[in-house]
């Protein structure tokens, strides 16, 4: 297989703060340094992109020395937290902006979908917009004409095709926009999280189309998403970016695990949560201890059918009148399976200054597999998070029940919970 995209030492520096007289004087200094054949003085003091800490330089590296190759026909998922440089990478690859250093070589025609419906004009009809949007994405008029009926059928807005798109519902708008993009002929497809729009049924249609393009048509796909499940189902390979650098690159399963374990909270033996594990929060309260228990003792492995209990400690630093305490059960892809709250109706509770202990009995039977927890406490009225942690603790449910009566015969899981269902079987 030959290389489709060769990325060599790509970096991108961004300037923070406002552009005004002050930035003009540093522009002059930079210009003078470059004129004399020197290095850019500001790039030398540029810092890595860490939002939470205040740096001394107002230049940050959104991407730093990114190097990797993508083979023809590969589908690569790009993952990373917000601000890891995913979008910057796609922007550079789509030639929307230019890198600060490095070189990229691409073989084949690139179609990049950083957004659907770019260039849609509200006054024009659906028909006109198909042509305009298609041309903006690089299609020839003739090409659009031959695919026109297919595009309209895919979008499912036949009836409105001669109505200005400003009269469309937002769902119809997105359908039409994606339909054009889906019919783009290219060797390489670059997709940003455009699938996070539209209803579930349409999202499925989009994922199906992408899958078809990648697997049967052999296109090279670069796909950015926060959705681990989508990346797993679509991509053979994955790239994990952290603070603008390549953390790891390889087979999707391995990288997804890397990604999740990189951000899971490491606890001490007694379940104490170290300071600074929070992803965000106002700091008015803090989760301090989390332990998964069986019969009052810390335990991670459970037989099928056993119900785990949780022991959670929280330190409250000031009076909170409307706290919503929530513990999410999440699967290994970080997807939330259920939320548990102290109040059955999801109402808020009042927390006084001091230490709290929550003992939680999970009254559900979990299907065999591996799980973790997200801990959240937020304000009911404003919705702002007071403390939020992801991937705390590991809970494993084995395929065997303790008495071997409940036996789970399959290697793959069928859902996550085992609800009670009453069956009545009759021969008719």
């Amino acid at each position: 297989m030959s290389v489709a995209i060769q990325i060599n030492g790509i970096s991108k520096a961004y300037q923070l703060g406002v552009i005004n007289t002050g930035s003009f004087s540093s522009d002059l200094i930079r210009w003078w340094a470059l004129k004399r054949g020197k290095e850019d003085p500001y790039l030398q003091i540029a810092e890595e992109n860490d939002r939470s800490s205040l740096g001394s330089s107002n230049i940050v590296w959104s991407l730093k020395d990114v190097t990797f190759n993508i083979l023809q026909g590969d589908s690569v998922g790009v993952m990373g937290r917000n601000g890891a440089g995913k979008s910057t990478l796609l922007k550079i690859l789509s030639q929307v902006t230019h890198p600060t250093t490095g070189q990229i070589k691409i073989k084949g025609k690139v179609a990049s979908l950083l957004e659907v419906g770019t260039g849609f004009h509200p006054e024009l009809t659906g028909r006109d917009n198909i042509f305009l949007n298609g041309a903006i994405l690089g299609m020839r008029k003739q090409e659009i004409k031959t695919k026109f009926d297919e595009i309209v059928a895919f979008s499912g807005v036949e009836r409105y095709i001669d109505t200005p798109v400003k009269r469309y519902s937002s769902g119809m708008y997105v359908r039409l926009a994606f339909a054009v993009a889906a019919h783009l002929e290219s060797d390489i497809l670059i997709v940003d999280e455009v699938l996070a729009v539209g209803d579930v049924e349409f999202q499925k249609k989009c994922m199906g189309k992408m899958n078809q393009l990648g697997k049967s048509n052999g296109r090279t796909i670069l796909f950015v998403s926060h959705n681990m499940a989508a990346i797993k189902s679509l991509c053979k390979q994955a790239l994990f970016l952290e603070k603008g650098k390549v953390k790891s690159f390889g087979e999707t399963g391995t990288i997804v695990n890397d990604y999740l374990s990189a951000y899971s909270v490491r606890q001490a033996g007694d379940g104490a949560i170290p300071c600074g594990s929070s992803l965000h929060g106002t700091g008015e309260a803090r989760y301090t201890r989390f332990q998964i228990c069986k019969n009052g003792n810390g335990c991670e492995d459970f037989f099928f059918g056993e119900k785990p209990s949780l022991l959670v400690h929280m330190e409250v630093y000031q009076h909170i009148s409307d706290a919503v305490v929530g513990v999410h059960l999440v699967n290994i892809y970080g997807e939330k399976i259920m939320m548990m709250t102290p109040d059955k109706n999801y109402k808020s509770v009042m927390l006084e200054k001091g230490s709290y202990q929550f003992s939680i009995e999970i009254d559900e039977i979990l299907m065999p597999g591996e799980y973790s927890f997200n801990l959240a406490v937020s304000k009911y009225n404003t919705g702002s998070d007071i403390d939020y942690l992801e991937s705390v603790g590991t809970l494993r449910v084995l395929r065997d029940s303790i008495d071997h009566e409940l036996d789970y015969p399959w290697a793959t899981i069928h859902g996550f919970l085992k609800p009670q269902s009453i069956w009545d079987i009759k021969r008719i």
Partner: protein, 281 residues
């Protein structure tokens, strides 16, 4: 350096522009669709439709006729005053509208440019052509008024110079786009110049031959007016249609020289700015 193995090479060190004629040609369909979009969206939901293209020059010409022709009594170089003013306004409108729209082209289209790559020059080109369409309609109006004078008087004559008309229009288009591209490049980071534009345009208009002929200016002012790149262009515009006035050969050479200079300056600065402007706009 072209490497035949690769279709696209993005190199941070490459500072030259990247819109080649081949690229522009490949996107020609987009160009026409954009022109069509501009035209259609201009008169959507209006009753008079494209007639609006004519109303503006007629009213402006009437006002100029009153203020500059009647009150101030400026010369019209032997050309019937209505024709003189409407031709000046038509040329000026084409120039100023193309300039204003081109100078904002990076900012106005930032949302598109920030998401999709296509040769950025397609946008300014589409502005030239959609304004050219309006110009065409306005020229028809001029020819209608002209035919009236052709039949009833001998104030206007058709000469072979009429074949110069396409050339003059190209000159005006190239000048306005050149200045516009330059302003758009400069203002992609610092917007100071954009604030100066409205004032600058007024200055340009009154120091060019829109409301008076070059022959009506004397002394030091003649030099200033003649130095305005637009002056000879408008003089030539009138000369080609009405056959009145003379264009010195030095004027013609100056016109060609200054137009090329402006255009190259605009093109080079635009090509430098367009690669990273999405970061600073």
């Amino acid at each position: 350096m072209e490497d035949p193995q690769w279709d696209v090479v993005i190199d941070a060190k490459e500072s030259k522009g990247r819109s080649s004629f081949k690229d522009l040609w490949r996107y020609r369909d987009l160009l026409w669709l954009l022109v069509r979009r501009d035209f259609v969206s201009f008169y959507k939901q209006t009753i008079l439709g494209p007639i609006w293209f004519l109303i503006q020059p007629i009213f402006t010409a009437a006002i100029y006729l009153f203020v500059f022709g009647n009150l101030a009594g400026l010369s019209s170089d032997g050309i019937p005053p209505p024709l003189f003013y409407i031709s000046g306004i038509t040329a000026w409108t084409y120039f100023s509208e193309t300039l204003v729209k081109t100078s904002g082209v990076l900012r106005d289209n930032a949302s598109i440019f920030g998401k999709v790559y296509f040769p950025r020059l397609i946008m300014p080109l589409s502005i030239i052509f959609s304004n050219l369409f309006r110009l065409g309609i306005q020229l028809m109006l001029i020819f209608i008024i002209m035919s009236y004078y052709l039949i009833t008087s001998d104030l206007v004559i058709i000469t072979p110079a009429i074949f110069l008309l396409p050339f003059v229009i190209i000159v005006i288009a190239v000048q306005s786009v050149g200045i516009g591209l330059f302003v758009s490049a400069i203002t992609s980071k610092y917007r100071d110049l954009a604030l100066l534009l409205g004032f600058g345009l007024q200055l340009l208009m009154f120091t060019s031959t829109v409301v008076y002929p070059l022959s009506g200016v004397g002394g030091i002012f003649k030099l200033i007016v003649a130095a305005n790149p637009l002056s000879f262009a408008i003089e030539l515009f009138r000369f080609s249609m009405f056959g009145k006035g003379t264009i010195p050969i030095e004027g013609l050479l100056y016109l060609c020289g200054i137009t090329t200079t402006i255009f190259m300056l605009g093109l080079i600065s635009f090509n430098r700015a367009e690669k990273t402007f999405v970061d600073t706009i």
